[in-house]
Amino acid sequence: MNHDATDSRRGFLTKLAAVACGGLATLAPVAAGVWAFLDPLRRKAAAAAFLPVTELSAIPDDGVPRQFAVIADRVDAWTGFAREPIGAVYLRRAKGSRQVEALTATCPHAGCFVELEATRCFRCPCHNSTFTLDGGIVQPSPSPRPMDSLECRVGENGEVAVKWQNFRTGIAAKEASA
C-alpha cells in the first residue's frame, strides 16, 4: 500500500473520530433538552367533573340561554389557583321546568367564545358559525358540529352543577380533549 493511501485512510479515521466525539458531546445537552421539552405530552386534561355553577332561580324559565362563568380550583403547572374562572356555559330552561340545558360557550369550530345574539341565536364572532338557541347548527356554517352540550344536574335545593369538560374542535365528532 502506498504512503498516500495510508495517509488518506488515517485522515479519514481522524475525521470520523472528531465528528463522532463532537457529536456525542453535543448529544447530551440536546437530548436532555428534548427530553424535558417533550414533557407536556405526558400531561392529561383534568377529568370531567360536576362543578356547581349557579342556582336554579338565577336562570329565568323563558327558554332563553343565560351565560354563566364556570369557577374551579385549578393547578396551572407550578401555580395553584383557588376559585378561578376556567370557562363559561349557557344555561336555559323551559317555562316551569326544573330541567336545565347546558351548552359550553366554546365554538366547536376553532374554539372562540360563542356569543348570544339578541336572544335569537348564537353566533361565533370569529368565523360566523351560527347556532340555534338549543345549539343546533345553522347551515351553511364553518362549524363541523352543533354546539357541545354538557351534562347538567339540579340538586334538591336548586343548585345547578355542570359536568365541565373541553372538547376537541374542528372535527365532526364530539370528543373530549385528552
Partner: protein
C-alpha cells in the same frame, strides 16, 4: 461568471455539487477548517474550543430551560421546582446547565493560564487578549446573574450581598444598584432584569465578542508553543480531534457529577430519587428567614473571603476588597500585553497570574474551611476528635482504649467528621421524623450544601409532608437553614405556602437540627 459543473458522480455528490455551485459551501468550509497548526496539534491548545463548546451547551440547555422558566417572584422558584421535580428529564437538563457553568469557569482559568504561560498575549495578539478578558467578565457576569434565577434562599441572599456591594461603588453606586435590582426592593423586577441580562444582553454581547475573538485568532493564526520540533499539522482534523475529545471529557465530567451519586445509591441497592439528582434547589427565597449560608457559588468564594481581610475597616474596607483591589488586578491583567514587552515582563505576567490563582485557591480553601468549622461548634473538639480518629483508624475498640475507656470520648472520636441528628418538626413543635446522618467526608459540610439536605434517611419523612418544606429551624448563627423541597408541587394561589406557614397553621414543617447526636 462561473459555469455550472456537469452532473457527474452519485446522487449525493451531485447534490453537493449543486449546492456548492450555488452557495460555495466547500470554499467556506475550507476557509473555516483548514487552518495551519504550526508544530502540529497539541492538547494544550484545546481550552479555547472547550470553552466554545461549554458556551454552546449553555445556550442549548438554557433555551430549553427557558421554555419552562417563569421569571417572577411568585413563580421563579415554583417553575424551577417544577422543572426539577415534575418534568421528565428536568433534573438532567438543569444539572447539565448548572454544572457546565462551573466547568466553564474552570476552563476559563485554564485557557487564560495557557495563554499567559505560552506568551500568546504578546504582539500582535494584544487586542485578542483584551477581547478574551472581556469575554471572561461576560462569562462571570452570566454566572452571577444565573445564580439568582431559581429564587431560592441561596441565590436570593447571595444576590442581595452582591448588589449591595455594587451599591458602594463611589458616586454611581446607589444608582447602579437600583438599576440592577430594578428599584429599591428585591422582587419581580430583579428577576426580570437578571433574566434579561442572563439570557439576553450578556450572551448576545458574548457572541459579538466571541466572533471578534475568533476572527482575530484566525487573522494571526495559532500561537505555537516554542520551540517547534514537529511538522505542522492542520486544524481539521488533527487539532479538532483533540478538541472534540476534550469536549467529550468535559461533558463526561459534568454528567459524572450529576450521575455518580445516583449510581452509588443504585450500587448500594437503594432507590434513586431522580428529582433530587443534579443541581440543588434550596428553599424558596424568604426575606423573613435567616440564612447564614449566604455564599456565592464556589468560584466567587475567594472574593467573599477576601472581603473578610478588611474586616473592621468599615465602608473603606468594602470598597477596597470588593472594588478597588479586584479592579486593580483586572487592570494589571489588561496591561499584561504591554508589560510583556519589558525584559522581565513575561516572567512577571506568569508569576502574577499564578500568584493570583494561588491566592484564589487559598482564599477559597479558607472560606470552605471556616464554613466547615462554623458548622461544628468547637474547633478544638473537632480537631481533637479528628486526631483521635486518625490515630485509631476509626476502630472502636482501639478508640476506647486510646481514651482510657471513657465511652463518651470514644463516641465523639468515632463520629469524627460529621454526625448530625436531624429532627423534623411540624409548626407545633411535634416531632415528625428523626434521622441520623453520618458522613466521613468533612467538606461536604459546606453550608450551601448541608449534609442533611440529601439525607436518604430523611427523605421518606419529607415525602409525607403536605407541602414542600421550607427553610426553618431555630435560625441560629450557623444555621444552614435549608432543605431540599418535599414532594408536593401543588402550590396555592400566589405564593407557595407563605402566609399560613408563618401564622403557624401546621402546614409547614420546620426543620430543626441539632449538632452532635452525642452532645456537640
Amino acid at each position: 461568471m462561473s459555469t455550472l459543473r456537469e452532473n457527474r458522480g452519485g446522487p449525493l455528490k451531485q447534490l453537493a455539487d449543486f449546492l456548492d455551485d450555488r452557495t460555495g459551501w466547500r470554499g467556506l468550509m475550507h476557509e473555516a477548517l483548514y487552518e495551519r497548526v504550526p508544530g502540529g496539534a497539541r492538547w494544550r491548545y484545546v481550552w479555547g474550543s472547550t470553552l466554545v463548546f461549554a458556551f454552546m451547551t449553555q445556550v442549548i440547555t438554557g433555551l430549553f430551560l427557558w421554555a419552562s422558566y417563569s421569571a417572577s417572584a411568585q413563580t421563579a422558584w415554583e417553575s424551577v421546582w417544577y422543572i426539577q421535580h415534575e418534568m421528565t428529564g428536568g433534573w438532567l437538563l438543569r444539572g447539565i446547565h448548572h454544572f457546565m457553568a462551573q466547568a466553564m469557569v474552570v476552563l476559563l482559568a485554564l485557557h487564560l493560564l495557557q495563554v499567559v504561560i505560552d506568551g500568546a498575549y504578546k504582539a500582535p495578539r494584544e487586542v485578542n487578549f483584551w477581547l478574551g478578558l472581556v469575554l471572561m467578565m461576560l462569562v462571570l457576569g452570566m454566572a452571577l446573574t444565573g445564580y439568582l434565577l431559581p429564587w431560592d434562599q441561596k441565590g436570593y441572599w447571595a444576590t442581595r450581598v452582591a448588589t449591595n456591594l455594587a451599591g458602594i461603588v463611589p458616586v454611581i453606586g446607589p444608582a447602579l444598584q437600583k438599576l440592577v435590582v430594578g428599584g429599591p426592593d428585591y422582587g419581580h423586577h430583579t428577576l426580570t432584569r437578571f433574566f434579561a441580562l442572563h439570557a439576553g444582553f450578556l450572551p448576545a454581547t458574548l457572541v459579538a465578542f466571541l466572533v471578534l475573538h475568533l476572527a482575530l485568532f484566525r487573522k494571526h493564526g495559532l500561537h505555537a508553543r516554542q520551540p517547534i520540533t514537529r511538522p505542522d499539522g492542520m486544524f481539521w482534523p488533527d487539532q479538532l480531534l483533540k478538541d472534540t475529545v476534550a469536549m467529550l471529557a468535559v461533558m463526561a465530567v459534568v454528567l459524572g457529577v450529576i450521575l455518580v451519586p445516583a449510581v452509588r445509591t443504585m450500587l448500594a441497592g437503594g432507590q434513586v430519587d431522580w428529582s433530587h439528582a443534579g443541581a440543588e434547589l434550596g428553599a424558596p427565597a424568604d426575606p423573613s428567614q435567616p440564612y447564614a449560608a449566604a455564599r456565592p457559588e464556589w468560584y466567587f468564594l475567594f472574593l467573599f473571603q477576601f472581603l473578610k481581610v478588611f474586616e473592621g475597616w468599615g465602608a473603606t474596607g468594602e470598597f477596597l476588597g470588593a472594588i478597588l483591589v479586584p479592579g486593580l488586578i483586572m487592570g494589571v491583567m489588561f496591561l499584561m500585553p504591554i508589560l510583556g514587552n519589558w525584559k522581565l515582563g513575561h516572567r512577571f505576567n506568569v508569576a502574577f497570574t499564578l500568584g493570583i490563582l494561588a491566592g484564589v485557591a487559598v482564599l477559597t480553601g479558607l472560606a470552605l474551611d471556616e464554613d466547615y468549622y462554623a458548622l461544628w461548634a468547637d474547633k478544638q473538639q473537632v480537631a481533637e476528635a479528628a486526631k483521635l480518629f486518625d490515630e485509631t483508624g476509626g476502630d472502636e475498640a482501639k478508640l476506647l482504649a486510646a481514651v482510657g475507656g471513657d465511652q463518651a470520648k470514644a463516641t465523639y472520636g468515632a463520629i469524627t467528621d460529621v454526625a448530625v441528628e436531624v429532627v423534623l418538626r411540624d409548626a407545633n413543635g411535634r416531632e415528625v421524623a428523626k434521622a441520623n446522618h453520618t458522613t466521613k467526608r468533612r467538606h461536604r459540610a459546606r453550608p450551601s450544601r448541608p449534609v442533611f439536605a440529601r439525607s436518604a434517611a430523611l427523605r421518606p419523612a419529607l415525602r409525607q409532608l403536605p407541602c414542600p418544606c421550607r427553610s426553618g429551624g431555630p435560625g441560629g448563627g450557623d444555621d444552614p437553614g435549608q432543605v431540599v423541597g418535599g414532594e408536593s408541587p401543588r402550590l396555592r394561589h400566589g405564593r407557595l405556602d407563605a402566609g399560613p406557614a408563618r401564622s403557624g397553621s401546621g402546614r409547614r414543617a420546620s426543620l430543626l437540627r441539632q449538632y452532635g447526636a452525642q452532645g456537640w
